[in-house]
Symmetry: C2
Subunit: 326 residues, 2 copies
Amino acid sequence: MKTPIDVAVTGAAGQISYQLLFRLAAGNFLGNDQPVILHLLEIPSAMDALKGIIMELNDCASPLLHRIEITDDPMVAFKNVDFAFLIGAKPRGPGMERRDLLADNANIFAHQGKALNAVARRDVKILVTGNPANTNALIAMHNAPDLKPENFSAMSRLDHNRGLAQLAEKCGVLPLDVKNMIIWGNHSTSQYPDLHHTKVKGQDALSLVDQRWFEQQFIPTVQDRGTAIIKARGQSSAGSAAHAALDQMRNWVQGTEAGDWVSMGVRSDGSYGIKKGLVYSFPVTIENGKVSIVQGLTINKFSAERMKASENELKEEREAVKHLLG
Amino acid sequence: MKTPIDVAVTGAAGQISYQLLFRLAAGNFLGNDQPVILHLLEIPSAMDALKGIIMELNDCASPLLHRIEITDDPMVAFKNVDFAFLIGAKPRGPGMERRDLLADNANIFAHQGKALNAVARRDVKILVTGNPANTNALIAMHNAPDLKPENFSAMSRLDHNRGLAQLAEKCGVLPLDVKNMIIWGNHSTSQYPDLHHTKVKGQDALSLVDQRWFEQQFIPTVQDRGTAIIKARGQSSAGSAAHAALDQMRNWVQGTEAGDWVSMGVRSDGSYGIKKGLVYSFPVTIENGKVSIVQGLTINKFSAERMKASENELKEEREAVKHLLG
């Protein structure tokens, strides 16, 4: 059997983690022959709940789950980890301003960035799921100067998968028949789900659906899906979020399929005129763990405006947390 | 890609199903090349919650999830299914007598047994998880005279896995180092987790732990684990229960490992003096989908008494629902 990999999960007692952890124990991340050691981070007030979850994880008697460590200290949690799922974030409370939410989370991710910088493996792959995910990833990245920006990503995969599912349903095909979806920008309602390059069984998506559906149904449905799920379930997305986190991390390790790409929040290198340094969702291909932003796509005016709007939101978020960016 | 299999899940909007369904969509049951069609059964009052879960399942854009059907009618849900996870059951309400709980659930499982009898595939594999699982399985079996008793099982795997985990922890080994655990009897506190035939890295388990630990720690810890989880989490086991359900169904299809067995609630054929016809947890080996109760194990007085006590409880449960057994 292979050497165990060390995987950190933050917000380990939360709803998304409750979905993710059993799947990590079951080999859903890197396969049935890859043992894992889980490093679970929680705040002290959630430690009792976390202990109950660990009882259940142990009760799975999984041959792949070699050890579980729990702590409320990021310096302990991130020690020598190969992968970090940064899921925990402070949720928006009643009457809380967006600015306050940003500030509170910024402090959490600055602290975690410093810890990752100090103790994680130098090739650690970090996925930020906790919202605001892109700016949280930016802050963690800036607080980890000894790691590369390429160690960090923000989750766009849930939006990407939602887009695949919406288009597949509209066209009466399976999600696997849809290729080259793009989510541009921020993981927020300003994101731009773009079908201009998308293929459905090899045909141009926009030749199969009308422009009105694309603009007035598809885009807002994907943008507002999180709210729709909360309305339907009474709770925010957990099963689909954990699924997407596994999808994004697995692709990061195993690469993307030939002829297809995935959407991923990564540090902008200035591609498509997006301000260098922002953590922005781009279409990417991945090979041997190396992420490359897809180049040379034609961007029309409709797309450019929406890409810019989401970029502007990310600039505003960055401005609000600039004191933490060093 | 293979032909999709049809999998029914009852109680589809509940907590165990919320863990199970995403794993079915992810290929955790029969692998990454086996598409599934999900048939989800719920009561009318849970249909709105179920719709929210289906939004999330679709949002996974899983290449394996070919279709989802939802209904409140077992005759629709079980139509042509290859597998049925019977998870839904009426939970015990405040002030409710055990007798009333048995009666309410008995009606549900009689109804579902009739529907399985009428419309499921003749080789359907049915796992009853909803409590009281063994007697619910008995009732469904009796109401499905055109299916074989071998089509039905009750879940013992959660108890089995809990036993593996407890012993592994005590011996400082991994769960995969423990073989030949047995859970005898009912999925209730009367169950008897037996270490007399269990090996830890090839050594007799009872030569590695003292008798007092076995009797006073191990047995009650496994028997009462469900209550301990509720106390620790504030909710009953969901992640570990879904994991165990997948383990048990997967073994049923793929077989047991050479030299090892699993525990499974099946119709007694009179082995070990257990009343023929009861659904009782035995050690079993499985090959090509055929389940065989392990024969010839030596049973000492200590074990025989405990096996008998759980048998007696199952006889009492059967007596309470005998009007539904035809």
